[in-house]
């Protein structure tokens, strides 16, 4: 409920003059709106540019991850037989023709049967004797599906 006092409120003229003196900044400059608009445009343009850079960066990161993942899962390591494998292959190559095949097993078997001189490196299973087990080792090397290189 409004009181009679509130309806009849009038400011003191001196207070009015003081307030005017305190808060009167004069009229705004003519190009203020334009300057505010220009600043806003610059800000929005910068924001858009940043957003674009972020999107391109994310896409590049995803592409890099995909490429690295594909490369790691689809690239076979280069075929580099270890020294022990190469030495074993050389020892299995009884006839020294550069490849291990069943003829190497045949020749070793014949040497064992006929008691011809036996080289110690033909002890392929390192059990101290050159026997049928070593012949089998040569034969199995010959039929192995993943052939290792021979020196």
């Amino acid at each position: 409920m409004e009181t009679e006092h509130e309806n009849r409120f009038e400011a003191d003229p001196k207070l009015g003059q003081d307030l005017k003196r305190l808060y009167d900044f004069g009229s705004p400059p003519e190009n203020l709106d334009r300057r505010v608009l220009d600043r806003a445009r610059v800000f929005v343009t910068q924001q858009r540019r940043m957003r674009l850079v972020r999107k391109i960066g994310s896409a590049a990161a995803v592409a890099a991850i995909l490429i690295i993942g594909f490369t790691l899962t689809h690239t076979e390591p280069p075929h580099t037989p270890t020294m022990s494998v190469m030495l074993a292959s050389v020892a299995q190559d009884i006839d020294r023709n550069g490849r291990v095949d069943i003829r190497d097993a045949l020749k070793l078997a014949r040497r064992i049967e006929t008691a011809e001189p036996i080289r110690p490196e033909w002890d392929l299973n390192h059990d101290g004797a050159v026997d049928q087990a070593d012949v089998d080792a040569v034969a199995y090397a010959a039929v192995r599906l993943k052939q290792e290189g021979v020196l």
Partner: protein, 153 residues
């Protein structure tokens, strides 16, 4: 309101194909599986065959090697041929054997039988490559290799 409409459209999109499928019958087609041997024959053309090595590879059809048997001549029957066990359940095998017996085959002889599991209706085809055929001294001999298809089971 928009969410309700979107939910209704989604429900319709899921339900409509289900209604459409009523009355249709789906059957699972199981490809036929059979087992068949292939016999490998080497003809050493009159020379005594002491060692052989060949590679067999399926180039058509769905084939798995399931077993290997020795040859018919005594020289290659008593001892089974050498092969990589990894060849089993695959479509490629390298098979080899030698014999130091005095009695060696000099005529065409079945040197091995390879048992296969064949899936599907495509007739399998093979690539056969004789890499070694030698006499008792390991000297190469001019031999020919052929494949004979056995009876399916």
């Amino acid at each position: 309101m928009k969410a309700t409409a979107a939910t209704a459209i989604l429900a319709l999109a899921i339900a409509l194909p289900l209604f459409g499928q009523q009355g249709q019958r789906y059957e699972t087609v199981v490809p036929p599986v059979r087992f068949a041997p292939v016999h490998v024959v080497i003809d050493p053309a009159g020379k005594p065959l002491a060692a052989y090595q060949f590679e067999l590879k399926a180039i058509a059809g769905q084939v798995k090697i399931v077993g290997v048997e020795g040859g018919q001549h005594d020289a290659f029957r008593t001892r089974p041929p050498y092969y990589d066990p990894q060849a089993l359940a695959h479509d490629r095998i390298i098979l080899a054997a030698y014999s130091t017996d005095k009695d060696l085959p000099t005529q065409a002889t079945r040197i091995a039988t390879i048992h296969l599991q064949i899936t599907g209706t495509i007739q399998p085809e093979f690539e056969l490559n004789l890499t070694v055929a030698s006499d008792i001294d390991g000297e190469p001999i001019d031999a020919t290799i052929t494949l004979q298809k056995g009876e399916s089971k």
